[in-house]
């Protein structure tokens, strides 16, 4: 109880609350501007938090995150252009509803769905993170190493047909972290005699360069669009209809809960974020509807599902971060960077060792959702003003801001050079179709992977242990299947062998490490996996014979 009170006092401190209000406002703005992603806003917030105590810094970043996740709906509903990829599906019904003369109701449904999604995922985060951390205590260095590999392959597999490019990007991210002095023995690597390279690249400068700088360059590429404002709207007279919206949400509570659960689960998966969750939740809401004829024409469920799910994603993404030290998506990876910046290394013992900080994260998550509701109407007016600013002006100001922010990390001009070089690299990668998410995850997790590899080999030099220990085998199996997944997707509905036997093979394969783990629950799960796999194979083999 004392720890909870300590955490609560940390968060309700007037300075922290002020930063949180600014953070939510900044997040709402960032989320509402098409082309300005939430990850970019979080990355740019990072340098500010450096001088803050850890709880205050994280509360500020969580506020930006919660605001950003909710901000995308304003642009999507009012202009038809989603502010962020995680609010793409909101435009399917939000924009038609706004055009049909109900913009206030559409915004109300969006805002309250975001709020409910955030609160549900915050509750699940509080419940699940400690449980997952208990499982994480079983992990040894072999398992952590394989978990990082799994996180990278899953993120790369999201690149779909560009899987190889995704894997190259992930490996390149791991390589970037090897430049400079080796953490274990202090030997210089790939420094080519340069002091700049010997100190290594500051990974936050790398993240800002890869993500923010390269995005700004992409926005400025076309001279005509660079000189255009996002919208020519002079003003928007919209009053958010809170009461009617809450009524509609109560009548569709199943959609709210189902979508929040989809968001939470998607967030837990490494690499999968709001951009996937909102489409998935929308699709499920449509499939579950008895009458789906109004979807796409302004159906409230078409707004509830994406907004509840995209706000629930972050609770999911923070769960593996807090429990295992492995981020669930890019924004959680940046949060990991913030923790590391304050010399806090999250892992299975994080919640036990740093309970006040863990509670501060939970409380900040809840509180930020309430602040978001309060600020949405006010920010709506500012949003209209910001959309009238020309893209090149916005980009130049952000770039100047990023430059000072990066310098502030270590008072070093070299970090600005890092920002510049990785900005160029990120831009080139975007042009050649390389996904940036695996590279960012590789940069963030590179040291963790090497450290655990070294620890594992120090305990036992047998490399086969990476495939003989239950958890590392489990992660290795799902890493392999995640790499095959894009090929499986390509062959769906073709009747190929891969299509028929992919899911039973996954189940059959993961039953092996589950058996090896022992215990009643895991052995039962292993038997269940074999039973389901056999059933699917029997049905599909039957079909093959008949065919």
């Amino acid at each position: 109880m004392d720890i909870f009170l300590e955490a609560l006092l940390n968060i309700i401190d007037p300075v922290t609350l002020t930063y949180m209000v600014i953070g939510v406002g900044a997040g709402l703005m960032a989320g509402s501007i098409p082309g300005f992603t939430i990850a970019m806003a979080i990355v740019l917030t990072l340098p500010f938090t450096f001088s803050m105590p850890p709880a205050q810094g994280l509360a500020t970043m969580i506020s930006v995150l919660v605001g950003g996740l909710s901000g995308g709906l304003m642009s999507g509903i009012l202009t038809g252009i989603p502010g962020t990829p995680s609010s793409v599906a909101t435009t399917f019904d939000g924009f038609p509803m706004a055009r049909a003369g109900e913009p206030g109701l559409a915004l109300g449904i969006g805002v309250w769905s975001s709020f409910c999604g955030g609160i549900i995922s915050a509750i699940l985060l509080v419940l699940f993170a400690p449980q997952l951390a208990m499982v994480g205590l079983e992990f040894q260095p072999w398992d952590f190493f394989m978990l990082v590999m799994f996180a990278l392959t899953v993120t790369a597999s999201l690149a779909g047909e560009h899987l190889v490019k995704g894997l190259i990007a992930g490996a390149a991210g791991l390589f970037i972290r090897t430049v400079g002095e080796d953490d274990a023995v202090g030997v210089g690597r790939f420094d080519f005699g340069s002091d700049y390279l010997l100190t290594g690249f500051d990974f936050i400068a790398v993240l800002i360069g890869l993500f923010a700088f390269s995005q700004l360059l992409s926005d400025l590429r076309d001279p005509v669009t660079a000189r255009n404002a996002l919208s020519d709207r002079k003003q928007v007279k919209v009053k958010i209809e809170h009461r009617r919206a809450i009524g509609i949400l109560f009548r569709n509570w199943t959609v709210v809960i189902r979508s929040a659960l989809i968001g939470m689960f998607t967030g837990i998966l490494p690499g999968a974020g709001g951009s996937i969750a909102n489409i998935l939740a929308y699709d499920q809401a449509k499939k579950a509807a008895k009458d789906d004829s109004k979807f796409g024409k302004g159906d409230p469920r078409g707004i509830i599902a994406p907004e509840a799910s995209n706000n629930a994603v972050e609770g999911g993404a923070l769960t593996p971060l807090m429990a295992l030290g492995i981020p669930g998506d890019i924004t959680a990876a940046i949060m990991l960077g913030a923790l590391l910046m304050h010399d806090i290394v999250p892992g299975p013992t994080f919640i036990k060792d740093e309970p006040a900080l863990a509670y501060s994260i939970y409380i900040a998550f809840f509180l930020a959702s309430f602040i978001m509701i309060g600020m949405q109407s006010g920010v709506l007016r500012v949003f209209v003003l910001v959309t009238r600013i020309k893209t090149y002006i916005l980009a130049t100001v952000i770039l100047t801001f990023a430059t000072i922010g990066v310098f502030a990390l270590h008072n070093s001009i070299e970090d600005i050079w890092t920002l510049f070089f990785f900005g160029i690299l990120g831009f080139i990668m975007r042009q050649f179709g390389f996904p940036l998410a695996p590279m960012i995850l590789g940069v963030v997790l590179g040291n963790i992977a090497e450290l655990n590899l070294a620890r594992a080999l120090a305990i036992d030099s047998d490399p086969m242990l990476f495939f003989l220990r239950p958890w590392s085998l489990f992660f290795a199996i799902i890493a392999i299947f995640s790499m095959v997944f894009p090929i499986y997707q390509k062959h769906r509905d073709t009747g190929s062998l891969l299509e028929r036997f992919f899911s039973p093979l996954v189940l059959l394969s993961i039953s092996l490490p589950l058996f090896m783990m022992g215990g009643l629950l895991r052995t039962t799960l292993a038997f269940a996996a074999i039973a389901v796999s056999s059933f699917i194979m029997w049905r599909r083999f039957g079909k093959t014979k008949k065919g």
Binding site: I168, T178, R221, T396
Partner: protein, 159 residues
């Protein structure tokens, strides 16, 4: 089977992997520690090299999808198409080189003013000046006085 842009990128990656592998042999091997400092980077380089070979093979068999088509394949067309990006790169590089002499305040004001004017044209030069002074000055005040970050002073300007 045709040599395309992806093939070129894959070839560059293979060459880079080869170069980095050679460079990894320059890493000093200490007498202590279980994992050699060169081991982990070498594993990554081998993976990148292997994946690049697959990428090269794929590039030959997959028809090229041009993600960002450059309209003209002449130097003038290239420069015209990428002029804003080239401008940002060049102005940023000059800004970085001049930073020790101009300092963060003057450097940022000049950088943002020049960049705004190059990207937005000379018609709104006064607006650009006001934005450059306001944004850079505001950020400088915020960082130096509120966040108490020491921003670099220029050897020529003194602030």
């Amino acid at each position: 089977m045709s040599f395309n842009r992806d093939s070129l990128v894959a070839l560059c990656l293979i060459l880079a992997s080869g170069g980095l592998m050679l460079a990894s042999f320059e890493i000093r091997e200490p007498d202590y520690g279980v994992l050699s400092p060169a081991a982990w980077p070498r594993i990554i380089i081998i993976i990148i090299g292997g994946l690049s070979v697959i990428y090269l093979i794929q590039s030959f068999s997959t028809p090229q999808k041009d993600i960002s088509p450059v309209p003209k394949k002449t130097l003038k067309g290239f420069v015209l198409y990428w002029r804003n990006v080239i401008a940002v790169f060049s102005i940023f590089a000059l800004y970085l080189l001049a930073l020790p002499y101009l300092g963060m305040l003057v450097g940022n004001i000049l950088f943002s003013f020049i960049l705004l004017t190059v990207l937005g044209g000379w018609n709104a030069i006064l607006t650009h000046l006001v934005i450059a002074l306001g944004a850079s000055g505001g950020m400088w005040l915020l960082f130096t006085h509120v966040l108490e970050v020491f921003l670099p002073r220029g050897s020529l300007t003194g602030f």
